[in-house]
Symmetry: C2
Subunit: 320 residues, 2 copies
C-alpha cells in the first residue's frame, strides 16, 4: 500500500491517496511556540541554565525534536500531513534548521507528508533558490525532502512557476487568509465588482492548470481560511482543480461546520490545518481535565481524532 | 561621526544620515548565485571535489564569505547598505546561515547597513518569529543584527506590525515590484478606478505613520521598482513619509533616469538596489575589457561608483 502511494508521481495525487487511505483531511501544524512547550521538557534539557546562546538553542533544538517526535507518533494514524511553520524554527538559527531537518525525517518515517509553511516568494533565480532549498529532494540545504511549501503569490506567475518545478512536490498559494485584518487588501473590490481574492483565486487556478495530477487537482493549491465559510464555498465552486489548505480551524475560531464548503462532492478538495488546538491540546480547558502535561502526546492524539471525526461529519464522502 | 550616526534611534534616520554622509543612495545586492561566482574561488576551495553534501556546502560557505568580504570592502565607501537575498543562502542550509551571519558582521564592521531581502510574511506569533529571527539584535537565531528586512504585505496590518517592533530596525513592504509579470495582481484596477498597488501604497503609508523618525520618514518603507518611472514618481508624490527601496536598476533594465522620480526635493526618499550588475560586474561586456575575473572586487568598486554618479546626476540634492 505504502509503495503504491509513493509511486504516484504528483504531490497532489499522493496527498489524495493518503486522504482516502486514512479517511482524514487533518493537517497538524507543528508550531513550537517556545512559551507553550511543556515545562518538564524545558527542565529535562536544562534550557534555562544554558551557559550561552549557542548552548541554549542546542538544548531548545533537542526539546523541539522530542516534542515533535511524540506529537508525530501520536497523530500519525489520524493526520495525513504535518505543517511546520518555518519562522518558529528560523528564530533558533542553525539549531532550528537542524530541528526542522529531523522533523521531516521523523514525519516521513511515520508515513506523513510534510508541508513547510514558509509563505516564500520571490522571482527568477531567487524563487528557484527557495524552491531548491525546500522542495528539491537532494538539495544542498538538507531540507529539500519536504513535500510542499506555502507561497505568497503577490509577485505574479513568475513568482509561482519556480515552485512547481518538481512534479512530486506541491505549493499552496495564499488566496484568502484567516486573520481578522486579511480583508484590508484581499477583499478590495475590483472594477468588475469582484473582490481581489476571487480574481487571485482564478489566476491561481489558471497558473496551476498545467500541473494537474491524475486526480484532476493541481500541484498548485490555495490557502483559503475557514473563518469565512461562504467565501470558502464560493471558491470551491469556482476553482474545481485547485486543492485548498484550510487554516483557521480550532484556535483561530473556525469549527468543523465552517470547513464544510471547502470540499467537493467526493469529500476531497481540501485539507484542514490546526496547530495549537492539537499540539498544545493539554492546555485547552475542556481537555485539561482528561490529560496532564506529561500526557501531552495523548492529548494531541485525542484532539486530532476529535478533529478528524468532526470534519468527517460535515465532509461529503468522509465515512462517519 | 560613526558614533553620532549609531546613536540615532530610528533605522530610517540612520539610513538617511549615511546617505548624506556618503552622498550616495546605492544599495548593493549580495546575491551569491552559485553559477556566477568566480571560477578561481570555486577552485581555491575545491568545491567540485568535495566528498559529500555537507563538505560541499561548507566549502561553498567559505567561497561566499571570501567573495562577500571582497565585494563589501570594495563598495564600502560608495554604498550605504547591502542587501543579501536570503533564498540564495537558505539553499545551502546550515552553511548558508553561517555565511549570512558572517556577512552581517563584515558589512557592519565596514560601516554598511544590512538589509535582508527575505520578503517574509505571516501573522501573530509567526510574524514575531521572523521579526525576532532577523531584527532582534540579541536574537537566539544569531542573525538578528540585520538592520532591516523586506516583507510581503499581503496579510494586512497584522502581518506588518510585528516587523516594526524594534525602533532601530526597519522593514520595506512590497508595493510595486519590478518583474515583468508583477502587474497581473499589482495593477488590477479597483472599483474606485485606482490600481491595487496605489491603494496598497496608501495603506503602507497609513500603517507606517506611527513609526516616523526625526527625518519625517517612517521605519516602514516600500519596495517600488524602477522599471515603471511614472508609477514611481506618482507614488513618491503620494507617500511623502514612505522611504523607497528601488530595485530594477542595472541587470533588470532600469537606468539612472528611471529612478529620478523616486526622490524628494532634498534628494532623499529612496535607495536604489543593484546586485548582479555590481557584484558580477567583471562579467559585463563593457566592463570585462577593463577587469579580469581575478579583479572582480575592483570591477565591483568601479561599477558601484559609476552607479552612484549616474544616480546622483538625476537625484535632486545629490552633489555631482
Amino acid at each position: 500500500m505504502m509503495i503504491e502511494v509513493m509511486r504516484l508521481k504528483f504531490f497532489i495525487d499522493k496527498l489524495i491517496a493518503e486522504i482516502e487511505k486514512k479517511n482524514s483531511v487533518v493537517c497538524v501544524g507543528l508550531d513550537p511556540h517556545l512559551d507553550r512547550l511543556p515545562d518538564f521538557l524545558l527542565e529535562k534539557y536544562q534550557v534555562n541554565s544554558a551557559p550561552d546562546r549557542s548552548e541554549k538553542t542546542a538544548r531548545l533544538r533537542d526539546v523541539i525534536i522530542e516534542f515533535n517526535s511524540e506529537i508525530i507518533a501520536a497523530v500519525a494514524k489520524t493526520a495525513v500531513i504535518v505543517k511546520p511553520q518555518l519562522a518558529l524554527y528560523e528564530q533558533l538559527g542553525l539549531a532550528g534548521i537542524e530541528a526542522l531537518k529531523q522533523t521531516i525525517d521523523i514525519a516521513q518515517k511515520e508515513g506523513l507528508l510534510v508541508l513547510f509553511d514558509g509563505k516564500r516568494n520571490d522571482i527568477g533565480s531567487s524563487a528557484r533558490g527557495y524552491a531548491d532549498a525546500y522542495l528539491k529532494t537532494d538539495s544542498l540545504s538538507g531540507l529539500g525532502k519536504a513535500d510542499a511549501l506555502t507561497i505568497n503569490p503577490f509577485l505574479g506567475q513568475e513568482g509561482i512557476a519556480p515552485f512547481l518545478n518538481y512534479p512530486d512536490k506541491g505549493a499552496f498559494a495564499l488566496v484568502r487568509t484567516s486573520n481578522p485584518g486579511a480583508g484590508a487588501l484581499q477583499d478590495l473590490l475590483l472594477a468588475d465588482d469582484t473582490p481581489f481574492y476571487l480574481k487571485l483565486g482564478s489566476l491561481i487556478a489558471e497558473w496551476g492548470s498545467e500541473y494537474q495530477g491524475e486526480s484532476g487537482y493541481s500541484n498548485l493549491g490555495a490557502v483559503v481560511g475557514a473563518t469565512r465559510p461562504e467565501e470558502l464555498a464560493h471558491l470551491r465552486a469556482q476553482l474545481e482543480s485547485t486543492f485548498f489548505l484550510i487554516p483557521g480551524y480550532g484556535a483561530q475560531g473556525g469549527g468543523a461546520a465552517e470547513t464544510a464548503g471547502g470540499f467537493d462532492e467526493r469529500g476531497l478538495g481540501g485539507i484542514v490545518n490546526a496547530a495549537r488546538s492539537i499540539i498544545f491540546a493539554w492546555q485547552r480547558p475542556e481537555i485539561a481535565e482528561k490529560f496532564s502535561t506529561a500526557n501531552y502526546a495523548e492529548a494531541a492524539e485525542f484532539a486530532a481524532r476529535q478533529m478528524k471525526e468532526e470534519i468527517n461529519e460535515v465532509r461529503v464522502g468522509g465515512k462517519k
